[in-house]
Amino acid sequence: MSVLDARLSRVNVSRDSRPAAAAPPAGQQTPTPSLRRRLTELRGPGVRPRSLDARALAALAANPGCRRRALLDGAGIDKGALAQALGSPATYGQSQFAIMRGITFESRVKADGGAALMRLLHERLRTDTAPPEGEEVALPDLSAAGPEGRAARTALALREATAAGGWALLDHPMLAVEVAGSPVYVEPDAVVVHPDGSWTVVEIKSFPMIDGAADASKVGEAARQAAVYVLALENVAGHVTARTGREVRVRDRVLLVCPKDFSNLPTAAAVDVRKQLATTRRQLTRLTRVEEIAASLPEGTTFDLRPAEDGRPTRPTGELSEAVETVGAAYSPECLASCELAFHCRKRSREQGAVETLGRGVRGELGGLRTVGEVLAAAAPEAAEEAAEDRAEGPGRPDDPAVLALRRAAALRAEALAGATGGAARPAEERACR
């Protein structure tokens, strides 16, 4: 069992009493020094690991089969800088208009000690308890030095608030998740402690909820992010239960707060994140394979950009590209929206003629054929006889059902196109068959 596995299942043990067999053997609770050293080598000397935010963690779940992303993220490598150095920079960025709007909206939601927020929470989550009045909501101060300090302060505040048995609103708490053996700090917009000892994650977004409905893809992204926070909170909940003896429950319905219609007034909806939670949990366990992936790399592989004094990378692009190639990627066009390295992977994937460049679903009908060249060769009519002699076995052999279907598709397509150019003047009904 790997490191993260152990951590997560330990939390689970205290939470929903899994069999004791899942508890980790002693001595596996910290990352092995060799892995830590290896990851440092991969980043290059003196490069601080880039911390993952909830958005990046959530994006990992989108493509769990990508070893390249798992390794680069696990090692805390700056993929954006890497893509820039490889000559295929990502096209990300956020408009400052959007950022400003997000900040104004959040401050509006949290104004007056979060009165509006608490009212929405009470309305939407239909808790049995009485609605919180202004003075009853505790607003613990969470300021501390550094992410570690803030995380510790947050854990303390959560414990105290839970023990007090009242309402509490934690503004921008800091939570830690273990990713591949090193802590990653994430910062939810807010966490609410209920009088019954349960906790709710609050996610404040600036996309509108119009007539009670918001853009589905944006809600999905927010739910995946919130799932990371819930997961991080469960860690703390385990400790609090152990210390206070009071059963702590992290609610799996989070509160999503958005602007109502075309205004800047807040409205909210409860979003069930159980599915996202399960995905993220599974994905984080899989991430621990970073150790295996790192072990499979050739000796001396590094993604060090060797920055000069002014921060510009001095490592030759070819050498860097070779290093990146040592770990396989699972490129699909969906990556373009969520991974900084996607344009590089797409370039490589296109050079190799991989069929996935046309979409993830394409491969389903192509059997064992993996490249565009193979598919077109198999579909060509004259290839039939040659292929019969050359390859009686394996993908592309003439009696492969995928090849037969392809050849028929090619023949039908050629027939229709030839008919169309030859008889454009004829009525369509007549042409339909020629």
Binding site: T91, Y92, G93, Q94, S95, Q96, F97, A98, I99, M100, R101, S206, F207, P208, I210, D211, D261, F262, S263, N264, L265, P333, L336, A337, F343, R350, G353, V355, T357, L358, G359, G361, V362, E365, L366, V372, V375, L376, A379, A405, L406, R408, A409, A410, L412, R413, E415, A416, L417, G419, A420, A424, P427, A428, E429, E430, R431, A432, C433, R434
Partner: protein, 515 residues
Amino acid sequence: MSLIQTLARMEAVASGRAAPLTTVRHRHLSERPLVLVPMTTAGEAGAPLGVLVGTDREKPQLLAVPQPRDRELRFAFLAELAESVLPYVDGFADAVEWEERKETDPETGKRVAVQVELCADAPQLIVPSTAGIDFVRLLGRSMRFRRTAEQEPETPYPAPPHVPLLGRWFTHFGERSRVPGASLLLAMTGLLSRHWATGQSMLEDQHLGALLAWIDPPPGESGQVAAERAETGRDADGQLLCPPAGPATDPAFDNRLLSPAMARYDAGLSGAEEEVRALIEGQLRPTWDAVWQGLDLLRALPPGARVADRWKRDRWSYTAHRDRVRAGEPPQPRRDDAVTAAQKLASRETAQAQLDAQEALDDPLVMAGRRLSGEAMCGTVVHVEMAYSESRRPTPRPLVTLRTEDRPQLSENVKLYRPLPDGRTQPAEFVSYAAGGGLVVRLTGGMGRGKEPEPGSVPEADDAVTWTLFEHSPRGGPELPDPEDTPWTHGGPPAAAAAGAPADAPDPVTAEDFL
């Protein structure tokens, strides 16, 4: 994506140029469409930044908001937009044809034929991308519940005249665009990717510049290189060579160019407004030209035979909404009631089935896809054997033996349909596979009323014929109850639910402009 389309994409990869997916054009294109290229403020809902709008490709009208956070400026923009769009939309309202329609007479309860108006043509809006269609819907929603000073003198922050009306039309266009095959509001990316397969994925096809680069690459350059440049190419200032087709802007444009220019406008510097307008036009103009380039490419394709039939439905839709507006009916509700929603879904499903059938009948290349999936077959008639039904008055039921290489998914008595040259459909059924290859089909209609089939209604030996397993004009499902009979499973009659605010109540406005 079907195998035949996947293959077309791979051909495009190999040749460096998009491959045709159709041999005809499957959507109606107006002779005088209104092109609308919108741009929105990042992070805001319903705060447009600017549009290029017009029917003349050389002279687009630029409407811009120098500061989207100012309610007055936004209203002024919407008023201008209404002034340029509504005359176009209304321009089709008065030229009418007369059509006969069966209606139930309220007094006698009999079905009688009545003459009704049908507009001879209808407006057509073209936006660059599917996101543009969503934006038209969003603008429609934001405008249609507004009140003008004329409607309600007491209303705070009244909207300029015509703005609520534009909202209703935009809502109608947006709603109609969800009907498969409808052409009142079309996205150029959708139009192009229906007719051509590029060497990239469907996700990447959402980028209008990249899509056009594949279909019509610059001379001597492969589509892939041109598409990659359109996607990511930037100039020395870090600005995209091919600005996004909107309505979302490029963050680099917002941060480096637009934001400083807006700050200068806020500071009241002279010439700042012109500067913002020029910046917005610079982002919109390439997309405007791209939309017209796309129209040129599509117009080069001959229209499919049944396209006019579908456009007629769009004309009905336009005429019906014109009548609702003239009758002073309230704007479309925020949410449809259960019966209306079910009716809309059912009619969209029917429209999808009709579209699929009509496209296949109009286009051998689309039919090829249906043949590959076993839903149609083409072949040659080997021989015809005359046979009759066993009823008291025997009718012709000839047996046609067909030779085909297609592999339709047949079982006994499966219904088959044959398109006739005059556009009608002849029904038939599958009988059995013939000994020595081929299959036997029994014609079951379309041969006249006599004992002998009408001449030309039965295929002869060596004729090339097509039979489909799908109906050619599929009908919708059973009728739905009236709204007042909505079952309790679907929320009951709408009147019970609507006890609260009236359905068309305006959105609340606040003294402070929050954007």
